[in-house]
């Protein structure tokens, strides 16, 4: 069973967001997502300053075998990206909720967070095999 921290919110497409303060969220892909991908060898990061809508593609994660899109859990502006992933994409495998974070976003509308899943709903979502 993969690790699903209680303090995060989740998307159906296997991203997580941690709300740091009222305005900023840190985002990445879940432990389940990295397990499915395995051997992540490349991450294409978004440009800082990019305005995105919830559910819009913002990054690309490539494993040895597959290319996988990463979607933004909420609408907002990208304020920081994890440059360490450019040299060490494997951080996504080893520490998906920590050193493997992908981007920080200036959250436009906090109400969008209510649309996301909590840890128990996400655990059910993973168990359902979607």
């Amino acid at each position: 069973m993969s690790n699903i921290p209680e303090n995060l919110k989740y998307t159906k497409t296997h991203e997580w967001i941690e709300v740091q303060d009222d305005y900023t969220g840190v985002c990445g892909i879940t432990d389940h997502a990295q397990e499915m991908l395995t051997d992540i060898v490349f991450v294409e990061l978004p440009e800082v300053g990019l305005e995105v809508k919830a559910g819009e593609q913002v990054a690309v994660v490539e494993s040895v075998k597959a290319v996988s899109d990463v979607y933004s859990p909420v609408s907002g502006r990208i304020v920081e990206v994890n440059k360490a992933l450019e040299d060490s994409p494997d951080l996504l495998n080893s520490d998906p909720y920590g050193k493997g974070w992908i981007f920080k976003i200036d959250i436009k509308d906090k109400h969008e967070l209510d649309e996301l899943m909590d840890a128990s709903s996400y655990a059910e979502h993973v168990a359902s095999g979607e």
Binding site: F42, V64, V67
Partner: protein
């Protein structure tokens, strides 16, 4: 149509194999990590279930002559107990399939073909082999297990006690026994590494697989999936049917011009000999990425902004730790050392043309 399962399906599930569909078969893409399985083959050994592949027995007094008409390779290279790599070509010179021919006797040949093309091959053989030849598709009854890597000999000799094993040369084979059943043991492979391909009947496949895994524990043997098989053959720059080779790509274009050696007549000889001597319209080149991007099949290759072709196979090389690819491009435009650009998601990434192969075959046997 639901995917077929090999006789090792239950073993793959027990080993935690991540199953995917490939050429109509349900097979493991990996067990734990493609990179780890890849490196196990390079440094120790890996075990692959490739039972999906096709096996066809062609025999009879007319077998040799009939086969010679279908392939650009000289049948004279064969002798009893030896195998060779070649391909079937259509009238336009395109590749119907690439295959290995194992010579069992003067009048009996064992053909190992791709899974997705087995039916097409049987039809092509039936159409072209008329007199004194019988064609038998034995794929359904045959399991194929590949044991690849420098430790392969140490592992196999614990299971197959046969004096012929120690001195077995590359591209040679013999029929040994396992649990009283015949096993064809060939010193060949598709990884760029020393190793064996084992052909046995289905009912001993699971026991052979598990015996090999047990015997290989002390040598670092790991089960390896289709993912590692693909990255290994890409590093070794082996052409793959459906990628570098197809009905509309000739053997010379597809990077296997070295199989062209026959003096006698065969289908499309004019076209193929001409291309071998004077070059083909397109050629396979090898590319290394200069940034961290990963090249994938069908991405476009640009040279000075001109579209010169596309990637046929690409991915991450666990040995070189960078993106590598083979591409089918217009001939004569670029050569080794030249820079090209790969179109990846509407952006371009720089790449360099390098010598083939990325990883030279290693016959190292410890």
């Amino acid at each position: 149509m639901t995917a077929q399962r090999t006789f090792l399906y239950e073993d793959h599930i027990k080993l935690g194999g991540k199953m995917v569909e490939f050429a109509g078969w349900e097979l493991p893409v990996m067990y734990s990590s493609i990179i780890e399985e890849h490196m196990a083959v390079r440094q120790a050994a890996g075990l692959f279930d490739v039972s999906h592949m096709g096996e066809i027995v062609v025999k009879g007094r007319g077998a040799r002559a009939a086969l010679q008409k279908l392939i650009p390779t000289d049948m004279g290279k064969l002798e009893k107990g030896k195998s060779m790599y070649t391909c079937f070509v259509n009238e336009q010179g395109g590749v119907i399939d690439d295959l290995f021919i194992f010579m069992l006797s003067d009048n009996e040949y064992y053909l190992v073909v791709n899974a997705g093309t087995t039916q097409k091959d049987v039809e092509w053989l039936t159409l072209n082999c008329r007199t004194n030849v019988s064609i038998q598709d034995v794929s359904a009854a045959t399991a194929k297990i590949d044991l690849q890597g420098p430790q392969s000999y140490n592992i196999l000799k614990k299971i197959i006690k046969d004096d012929r094993l120690a001195g077995l040369q590359r591209f040679h084979f013999f029929t040994g026994t396992y649990k009283g059943e015949p096993v064809l043991i060939s010193q060949t492979g598709y990884t760029g590494q020393f190793g064996y391909e084992l052909f046995c009947i289905n009912n001993v496949a699971s026991r052979l697989w598990n015996d090999l895994l047990e015997a290989g524990k002390e040598y670092g043997l790991r089960p390896a999936g289709l993912g590692a098989r693909d990255t290994l053959r890409l590093e070794a720059s082996y052409s793959l049917y459906g990628h570098e080779l197809s009905d509309t790509i000739t053997p010379v274009e597809g990077g296997i011009g070295f199989v062209v050696s026959a003096q006698s007549e065969y289908i499309a000889k004019d076209i193929i000999e001409h291309q071998k001597a004077h070059g083909a319209p397109r050629q396979i080149i090898c590319l290394e990425m200069l940034d961290r991007a990963i090249p994938r099949s069908e991405y476009k290759v640009l040279h000075n902004d001109e579209d010169i072709g596309y990637i046929t196979s690409g991915g991450f090389s666990p040995v070189l730790k960078k993106g590598i690819a083979m591409a089918l491009v217009k001939s004569g435009v670029v050569s080794v050392g030249d820079d090209v650009a790969i179109v990846i998601r509407d952006k371009t990434s720089p790449a360099k043309v390098v010598a083939r192969p990325f990883y030279k075959y290693s016959g190292k046997k410890v």
